[in-house]
Assembly symmetry: C2
Homo-oligomer: 140 residues x 2
């Protein structure tokens, strides 16, 4: 399985916040209930999104989270790469610590690279706004 709960939950939270865009700060407790996800687990997933300015958190009563920009500004690819670390299909692509000494002769590497490119292109082609309830998701 390529996408873990981290990425899937983060995406669902982002969609939820997108659907509440413009209504101020939304408490994560509400999102967790709506999405039926453990609040505590969500709290562990969100920091990477706030640190990368995707969402903004406000502490205290009346606080919560909100999107930092319009839903159309967000690419699903960015959200998944942040939360999953990478969308690479095999380890030797995910970072520069490529310790594989067969790189030069590897017969499958080009295939993995091309698939990686394809994956990024696909998810970068989808905006958060494409996944909101009002829209029907249609993609060739």
């Amino acid at each position: 399985m390529m996408i873990s709960t981290k990425g899937r939950y983060a995406l669902r939270v982002m969609i939820d916040l997108a659907e509440n865009y413009g209504k101020g700060y939304v408490p994560m407790k509400e999102v967790a209930e709506r999405q039926n996800i453990s609040l505590k687990y969500l709290e562990r997933i969100l920091p990477v999104l706030t640190k990368n300015k995707m969402i903004e958190g406000l502490q205290g009563k009346g606080g919560g989270y909100r999107l930092a920009a319009e839903p159309a500004e967000y690419r699903v690819g960015d959200i998944l790469r942040l939360t999953e670390g990478s969308l690479a299909p095999v380890a030797c692509l995910s970072c520069e610590t490529n310790t594989c000494e067969r790189v030069q002769s590897c017969k499958t590497l080009p295939m993995w690279m091309e698939f990686h490119r394809l994956t990024n292109t696909y998810f970068d082609g989808i905006a958060l706004s494409d996944l909101m309830s009002s829209d029907e998701f249609v993609k060739l």
Copy 2:
């Protein structure tokens, strides 16, 4: 990471056998040495390929494995689906045990389904013969 060693090793074994196609049975010991993979681990991975008639094993001295058909007959997608179980990006797609009760309202499901289709199409578009040393792998 989507593809584990099971799928990657199986693919390398298949390429190795493809490059020795027509030369009779090749002992897995040789393949393991060439590919620098534990023979014992390979022995655990291969049964699914033999049971599905992808390769043929012959016991005893002078035995080994060989492809059951020409390299061009094999699709990378088939090899990966057999060894990895499925190429689905998320669990809710990989089988009919879809216990998720949000199926109807899930805003991300169509996106995962389309990516799944894309993935299968990509890997089904590559034949084992495309990965052999003689060929230069070029794919749009």
